[in-house]
């Protein structure tokens, strides 16, 4: 059932909720490209069983009611997930999905329809449905179709469909074994190995033709430990647009070690004190602060409508001079990277905040047109079942002038937050939260008592202005983050150097 929401949230893969199942075999139906990613547009055409003629005709139908613009989005996705629960790899989830969607724009109005059967007749029929949004005279021409040259931000050697289930099970067994031998307090383990491939082909009435192959993998390791009758669970996960070769022995051992260490460390942790205090964010996934405090508020759809707290702040100072924030689709093999967005704009790096000044929103086609700008490659969609909207990719802060040591030493009393599960924001009021699974108290300039299970709440512009120190140790998140907006989920990443927020509200105990 549909739910209306402007509560936009971010979730970590480690939260331990089972994936409804992800896709193993390629569908048998389509002509498969050879080994490796499809090399040219011809391979995408033959995969989806279309040609330029059919595409052109469908676009013409889409514009036949007077639309300004139309695009076709073909998608095939397949994913596999193998689960090991309490030492047995006893289930696998395999999903595949195929379809195409037609979008028609008239000003900022969108008509959208899709079909799961890719045939010229069905494509005509959904194009007619989507076309109706326009309902005005005159017809725009479809420009000559031309392939768009794209970069390759996620080169891989082995496609996931060429990897046996046995190989996946061996990795699960290895990590499970490493976890169990690390600590006798481990009582139960849950591991989940997933891989995913997405093939997309985009054709627009402005003549853009682009195909992309997007690999993804994620390995979740979770466990429950028991000490003196008390149980705690935690975990760790790794995710990237990578292939099987990425999982070296060292990487798998690192995954096992982190999952166990993060769990048993909780036995020493206590709830945090309640109230306002300085919070130091560890380098890495703490970039969740940027995603919630400013990222969503900088998505141009909200600004075009004037309903983001950042709507009136373009080119104004929002943070100290040493704060620069980007949203980047070009990081090699990183989870949120895209060679092309889901409406045909090449992946790129967008500067949101430069030396403390707000510089650019994140645009899709509709918002870029509204502002008279070029799209920034942020038009993304969950699947062919949805039209695109402005979305983040990899959002991170650049290095600053301070060091980790200076930041900790400068803090008489506060929290050092180093592991995160999820966050949420209300983009109009600017209020946002993020959940800290584990961290430490800072007392007299030193890390002391471990703390856990703390929600932190603040207001975006207020917190940005309170970033008083930024270190030089930028790190991107290693885990699999998924962002939800308007009922659509997309993979993203984030990063940050160690940085200090001088005051923010920490949920804890009143002592």
């Amino acid at each position: 059932m549909k739910k209306m929401t402007r509560r936009d949230f971010l979730k970590a893969g480690t939260a331990g909720i089972i994936l409804a199942g992800m896709p193993l075999t390629l569908s048998n139906c389509l002509k498969r490209p050879g080994s490796g990613a499809p090399k040219n547009l011809g391979e995408y055409f033959s995969f989806f069983g279309v040609d330029e003629e059919i595409i052109r005709k469908t676009l013409e139908t889409a514009l036949s009611e007077g639309g300004d613009y139309a695009d076709l989005f073909f998608e095939y996705s397949t994913g596999n997930s193998v689960v090991m629960e309490n030492d047995t790899a006893n289930r696998a989830y395999i999903e595949s999905s195929l379809g195409m969607g037609v979008r028609v724009l008239k000003g900022d109005k969108t008509g959208y329809s899709f079909t799961e059967e890719i045939s010229p007749e069905k494509m005509q029929s959904v194009a007619q449905t989507a076309a109706k949004i326009a309902a005005s005279p005159g017809q725009k021409e479809v420009k000559p179709l031309k392939e768009r040259e794209l970069p390759d931000y996620y080169p891989i050697i082995t496609r996931w469909e060429d990897v046996s289930i046995k190989k996946r099970i061996q990795m699960l067994e290895f990590v499970n074994h490493e976890m169990l031998k690390r600590d006798t307090r481990i009582q139960a383990t849950q591991l989940n190995f997933t891989d995913h491939e997405r093939l997309i082909l985009i054709a627009t009435s402005e003549g853009v033709l682009a195909g992309d192959y997007q690999p993804m993998t994620r390995f979740n390791a979770n466990c429950v430990a028991e000490e003196k009758g008390r149980r705690e669970n935690n975990g760790f996960n790794l995710s990237a647009r990578q292939d099987i070769n990425w999982y070296t022995r060292d990487k798998l051992m690192y995954l096992a070690r982190e999952a166990v260490n993060r769990t048993v460390a909780l036995f020493d942790a206590v709830p945090a004190p309640a109230g306002e205090m300085p919070v130091v964010l560890a380098a890495g996934s703490a970039g969740i602060l940027l995603h919630e405090a400013i990222g969503h508020g900088m998505e141009a759809d909200f600004n075009r409508k004037g309903i983001s707290i950042f709507s009136d702040r373009m080119n104004k100072k929002v943070a100290e001079r040493f704060v620069s924030i980007v949203d980047d689709g070009t990081n090699l093999n990183i989870r949120g990277s895209i060679n092309v967005d889901d409406e045909g704009t090449p992946g790129q790096k967008t500067v949101l905040v430069e030396n403390g000044i707000l510089r650019s929103y994140m645009h899709d086609r509709i918002s870029a047109q509204f502002y008279g700008l070029k799209p920034t490659g942020n038009g993304r969609r969950e699947s062919f079942k949805y039209p695109p909207q402005p979305r983040m990719r990899n959002t991170y802060m650049l290095n600053g002038p301070h060091t980790f040591e200076e930041i900790i030493q400068s803090t008489p009393r506060g929290i050092y937050a180093d592991q995160f599960l999820n966050g949420e924001v209300h983009i109009g009021a600017g209020d946002f939260t993020f959940y800290v699974k584990s961290g430490y108290m800072i007392e007299n300039g030193k890390l002391t008592q471990p703390v856990k299970d703390i929600n932190i709440i603040g207001n975006g512009p207020d917190v940005l202005s309170k970033i008083t120190m930024v270190a030089n140790d930028l790190k991107l998140a290693e885990g699999g983050w998924t962002c939800g907006k308007g009922g659509q989920s997309v993979p993203v990443s984030q990063g940050i150097p160690t940085c200090k927020v001088s005051s923010i509200t920490v949920g804890g105990k009143n002592i």
């Binding site: 089972i18 195929l98 899709f114 709507s311």
Partner: protein
């Protein structure tokens, strides 16, 4: 679109094929859904979407091995090859004796006695013009209440779904349901640059159960107006009143802790608590699948197990877990059902206003934002928004504050329940009052 009989026959064919290919048993589910949605922002239609989608899910059981496969490609030739791969792949997984279809004695035996009334036959003939009018009333309804709003977006949706289920040891069932809903999101300007937003969304199976669009709009506008000037309050231990629509989000982790999966994985704070008193006398929570037109109503669950009413907590005492057949086998427990249908927390006799009147110092929580909980210890921490209560009155809107605590303590601290069960959700909850909650603010 294929006829219903064709779909049922397709599942029969899928089953026969899989068995022939070497599966010992198979469960399959075919979902077909047609949906429509339309949104209007201010004066003009913003988006119109329509679709028909289908998906087939098969679960293969072979030599006590198990795998799950889904596809949206229903072409018969390709399905054959899909099944071939599904069956042969299952052999590579590890054996698990607990993997088998449920005991057929758990499947429905006769036609249900209750008519759940899950289909509104009038919806399919509702014209786009009529939907546009409703949508416009929704948006204009909001502006009629407040001219100062900076943006209003209304959405209307409806759909019709058929689910066909079949298991090779004797289950076969079909569920047809319609759904319809509308929502409105409103934003307002506040001095200082904040632009508080709020929304109201209602869902139902039948059109006539929805509110008039103007009433939905009025509720959204009232909610956003009440946020104007919201500020932090001081930290402290206070009484918390939770509005009926917000209760589901607070109580959801308790449902998670009741599942066989979390018990088997040793990650439930309710492990070992059967027949123990864990909540206050007011904490009576029931699962009722048989509410006519209920959003979670059903005749059988995902495994085909026939639906039954159960009391999960009786006056604070834990009486039932959610056990599906797999985790039932693992844990040596009788399967109940692995999931909930409609959850009802026993209402009280006072209205929300009367409940608030009885609070001298507290917070009326109308919305949760972010936060999470620890499934082993029951510790939680959430962001909240709402109103400060002083001497029985709402005195000012509050935001940017957190609550934290522990579910085992929270259930015991349930002090009162309202008479206002919220029916536009499968969580049918009244307004609740909890004593001694930790609030973190200034």
């Amino acid at each position: 679109m294929q006829s219903q009989k064709n779909y049922a026959n397709m599942l029969k064919w899928v089953e026969q094929k899989a068995l022939k290919l070497g599966a010992d048993a198979i469960r399959s589910v075919l979902r077909v859904n047609s949906g429509f949605s339309m949104s209007q922002r201010d004066d003009s239609i913003e988006k119109m979407e329509s679709s028909i989608q289908s998906s087939l899910r098969v679960e293969i059981f072979k030599d006590n091995r198990y795998s799950y496969h889904s596809t949206n490609d229903l072409n018969q030739d390709r399905l054959e090859s899909f099944l071939d791969k599904a069956v042969s792949m299952t052999s590579y997984l590890e054996k698990d004796e607990a993997r088998r279809l449920p005991d057929p004695a758990l499947y429905p035996t006769s036609m249900p006695e209750v008519d759940l009334d899950l289909v509104d036959p009038t919806l399919s003939s509702m014209t786009i013009e009529r939907k546009k009018k409703l949508l416009n009333r929704l948006v204009q309804g909001a502006y009629a209440k407040n001219r100062q709003l900076i943006s209003v977006t209304g959405e209307f949706w409806n759909g019709h779904s058929h689910v066909y289920g079949r298991a090779s040891n004797g289950f076969s069932g079909t569920v047809e349901r319609t759904y319809v809903g509308m929502s409105v999101e409103v934003s307002i300007d506040e001095p200082g640059g904040r632009k508080p937003e709020d929304w109201k969304s209602i869902n139902a199976l039948h059109f006539e159960d929805l509110w008039e669009p103007e009433a939905v709009a009025a509720e959204a506008v009232q909610r956003v107006e009440q946020k104007l000037g919201a500020e932090k309050i001081a930290s402290g231990i206070k009484t918390m009143v939770v509005e009926n629509t917000a209760v589901a989000r607070l109580l959801y982790p308790i449902i998670g802790a009741l599942t066989g999966r979390s018990l088997y994985q040793k990650r439930s704070f309710l492990d070992g608590m059967m027949d123990r008193k864990v909540g206050s006398d007011l904490f009576t929570l029931r699962n009722d699948p048989f509410i006519p037109r209920g959003l979670g109503s059903r005749y059988f669950d995902e495994e085909g197990i026939r639906a039954q009413k159960r009391t999960l907590f009786e006056k604070g005492t834990l009486k039932h877990y959610f056990i599906d057949s797999y985790y039932g086998n693992k844990l040596g427990m009788e399967p109940t059902s692995g999931s909930f249908s409609n959850l009802i927390l026993n209402p009280g006799s006072l209205s929300p206003e009367e409940l608030i009147k009885n609070v001298s110092e507290g917070v009326y929580v109308t919305q949760f934002i972010g936060g999470n909980s620890n499934s082993n210890t029951g510790d939680f921490s959430y962001g909240v928004m709402g109103h400060e209560i002083r001497n029985g009155k709402l005195v000012r809107p509050v935001t940017e504050i957190n609550i934290s605590g522990n579910y085992l303590e929270l259930m015991k601290s349930l002090h009162a329940a309202g008479n206002d069960l919220y029916t536009f959700s499968s969580f049918r909850m009244p307004t609740l009052v909890f004593k001694n909650v930790d609030f973190a603010g200034k």
